[in-house]
């Protein structure tokens, strides 16, 4: 459709809305203060460790797998366990500058797994992988969710196409509530830092469309692992 025609339709549409509401077009609307949110239990989680523990519980309650590691060797153990359990032969990792990704890459390599960083190999390779590995920008204690923004080497496909997903979570990045997470995303978005896609992922893909029977892994990953690394683990991995 030509731009002119599109603009004309838009104007007609918006004029009609205003007319039906009996209000002048183009007025400035200030969003009222709707008052404070009701209090939530998770706001009380004061320390990162308490939030990390709550996050793990919430994820486990949704058939996800959560563990906490204190150093790189424990992280490597966790990775090896996943490889064994799911027969992982190929994996795709986000290409991001996080030290733990290198740790995981090394552990996978040592287990004989072929590893590529996104977008190397593209969709075809990612589709053939058994495992995708990403880093959470935030995690939510209340819901067991992780926040995964897509940008550059942090492709959407990595957390979506392979049947097994491993999410690396820095303990300090676990926030208390969904509200905390959305406020942070909203703030960055308003300041112009808005990726084309942000996903909140909470546990495995699920469906109840067949006789209300829970089935796992219908489209997205059926197995979701979160490994929460406490401060010293990521520092050691960083070589600091």
């Amino acid at each position: 459709m030509a731009n002119g025609a599109r603009d004309a339709r838009r104007e007609a549409f918006l004029n009609r809305v205003a007319a039906r509401l009996g209000k002048p077009r183009g007025r400035r609307v200030v969003r009222p203060d709707f008052g404070p949110l009701p209090p939530q239990a998770e706001e009380q989680l004061a320390t990162p460790a308490a939030r990390a523990a709550a996050f793990c519980r919430a994820l486990e309650a949704l058939q996800g797998h959560a563990s906490r590691v204190a150093d790189p060797s424990e992280l490597a153990d966790a990775v090896r366990a996943i490889v064994r359990r799911h027969g992982v032969r190929q994996a795709v990792l986000w290409d991001a500058a996080h030290p733990a990704l290198e740790q995981v890459e090394a552990a996978l390599g040592a287990s004989g797994v072929t590893v590529r960083r996104w977008p190397d190999g593209g969709t075809v390779y990612a589709e053939a992988c058994e495992l995708g590995v990403v880093v959470a920008e935030m995690a939510v204690a209340q819901t067991g969710s992780v926040v995964l923004p897509a940008r550059g080497g942090q492709g959407r496909s990595v957390s979506l196409l392979p049947p097994v997903l491993l999410v690396l979570v820095d303990e300090e990045r676990v926030v208390g509530t969904l509200t905390d997470a959305l406020r942070a995303i909203g703030q960055r978005a308003r300041s112009g830092d808005l990726p084309a896609c942000v996903n909140l992922v909470t546990g495995p893909s699920r469906s109840a469309d067949i006789e209300m029977d829970l089935s796992i892994g219908v489209h997205g990953p059926g197995a979701v692992y979160a490994v929460v690394m406490n401060g010293s683990a990521s520092r050691e991995a960083d070589g600091r």
């Binding site: 459709m1 809305v17 492709g155 959305l182 995303i185 909470t202 893909s205 209300m212």
Partner: protein, 491 residues
């Protein structure tokens, strides 16, 4: 809007009532969803406060819809997307068809979208020779069966696993086992291929955030993510009212929607899309189109029904509705079923065509109580009925019946005589249990579905009078000491 060839609501309801598989399935789904919602409300706490907040946000947004739509459109374009406003079904469909043609699309994948059902979009694309695949598991099932959705949240609840296995076996060309994991595995494989081959992905929109031009999709299966990741073009279609001003408002909606829909704290995926992929991204669509649809919605603005535009399509009102419980979604014959369907469909599709729907209700108000944004659904149903009466569109027999009724009830002596006569007149039609079941004349409208108990031998007014006389007689009897109520109390 119409999803059934059978034009009579009574006949559609009759068919549904005769289907015991359907009724058992609907009951099970209702109970599961309802319990889930109740637990989730309790777990979050302060549910009423959340509801009030939700209502306030929705009200403010709809009252200033022109402002927020403009803000949204500007921001989507800033993000590199194309925005199209469509006044009618035609305009919306034509635009999608035009994009499909320009892209030379051969296959389209869709994730669940009620508004696209409203537009009969699949038909138009198929006429173009485009292969359209519904990718929500429930939608995939009913697409194979050639049926419309029967529930906003669980479109295929009316199908059992045996029927689903039959449908899938036909596609597979071999007999598939009917256990859930096998059926799910088959659907995953089949649909993954469709995703990888698709040129265009079409989604609905749960919420559009005006302040950043972001389209938010909630899903559990992940099909909305695949639909917005693999095809090179993404078209999102939204009803003009699906908008929130800010991320803070989105937060409140995300507290209400999953809990009210399925009892989840949050769905497995919440996907926030802001335009097409950026230059440095290696996946995601290269083009993003947002189609904002009126299709009858704007006519609701400024009327007594405006609150219905606050709806966030959670399905909670269906899950508590006693009428829905018995007849399921298809009997409504429209894209939207249950209480929300009864209010919304006549507004979008015209009262002449949908005059029966507002009457398919017991007005118990369970829907209004369940609604997370406090839409007074039952009051809007009464509003519909009132309007039918004042416009004089009710059948003449009903109008005369009520005129006669008014004439009688405003004349007390006549009324009492009429009540006494009612039993005598009906008695010859009643069976041994004192219930009228014969289906003749004006009685049929009632007795075809239900029985009609005979009026009591003695009317309430007669009984009341008689009791009054007895009481007066008792008070005139002489009382001896130690007797009577006072004596009993002190004993």
């Amino acid at each position: 809007m119409r999803t059934s060839a059978e034009r009579s609501f009574a006949r559609r309801a009759q068919q549904a009532l005769a289907d015991s598989t359907l009724r058992a399935a609907v009951r099970k789904a209702q109970e599961r969803f309802r319990t889930g919602k109740r637990n989730a409300e309790a777990e979050l706490g302060h549910w009423e406060a959340w509801r009030r907040l939700g209502e306030a946000i929705r009200r403010h947004t709809i009252e200033n819809l022109d402002f927020y739509l403009e803000q949204l459109a500007d921001n989507v374009e800033k993000n590199g997307g194309t925005v199209v406003f469509a006044a009618t079904e035609r305009e919306a469909v034509d635009y999608v068809v035009q994009v499909a043609r320009e892209e030379g699309a051969r296959r389209v994948v869709k994730s669940k979208s009620m508004v696209s059902e409203e537009l009969h979009l699949n038909r138009a694309l198929e006429a173009l020779g485009v292969d359209v695949v519904e990718t929500d598991l429930g939608e995939y099932i009913i697409q194979l069966a050639g049926e419309p959705p029967s529930h906003i949240i669980a479109p295929s609840i009316h199908k059992n696993r045996r029927q689903i296995a039959e449908l899938f076996s036909r596609v597979a060309g071999e007999a598939l086992p009917d256990d859930t994991p096998s059926l799910t595995r088959f659907a995953r494989r089949q649909l993954r291929r469709a995703f990888l081959e698709a040129d265009i992905g079409i989604t609905g929109c749960n919420f559009a955030v005006a302040e950043t031009g972001t389209i938010v999709l909630v899903s559990n299966e992940g099909n909305a993510r695949l639909t917005t990741t693999l095809p090179r073009v993404h078209i999102a279609i939204m009803g003009a009212e699906r908008i929130v001003p800010t991320w803070d408002d989105l937060d409140v909606m995300l507290h209400l929607l999953p809990r009210s829909a399925t009892g989840q704290k949050i769905t497995s995926y919440v996907t926030a899309i802001s335009g097409p992929r950026r230059a440095q991204d290696a996946d995601g669509p290269e083009a993003f189109h947002l189609v904002i649809v009126d299709n009858g919605r704007l006519d609701i603005l400024g009327t007594a029904y405006q609150d219905v535009l606050h709806c966030i399509r959670c399905g909670a009102c269906l899950n508590v509705c006693p009428v829905y419980r018995h007849i399921g979604g298809h009997a409504y014959g429209s894209v939207y079923s249950g209480p929300i369907g009864k209010v919304l469909t006549p507004l979008l599709g015209g009262m002449d065509e949908w005059h029966e729907l507002p009457h398919a209700s017991s007005l118990c108000a369970a829907c209004s109580e369940a609604c997370p944004v406090r839409i007074p659904l039952h009051e809007l149903l009464i509003e519909h009925r009132t309007e039918q009466v004042t416009r004089g569109t009710r059948p003449w027999a009903e109008r005369w019946a009520f005129r006669l009724y008014r004439w009688v009830v405003t004349r007390p002596a006549l009324y009492r005589r009429a009540v006494r006569w009612a039993r005598r007149l009906l008695a010859p039609l009643a069976d041994g249990e004192g219930k009228v079941r014969v289906q003749i004349g004006p009685l049929k409208g009632w007795t075809a579905q239900r029985d009609l108990p005979l009026p009591a031998r003695q009317s309430f007014l007669d009984w009341w009078e008689e009791e009054g006389r007895k009481e007066a007689a008792r008070q005139h009897e002489p009382r001896t000491e130690g007797e009577g109520r006072d004596g009993e109390r002190s004993a």
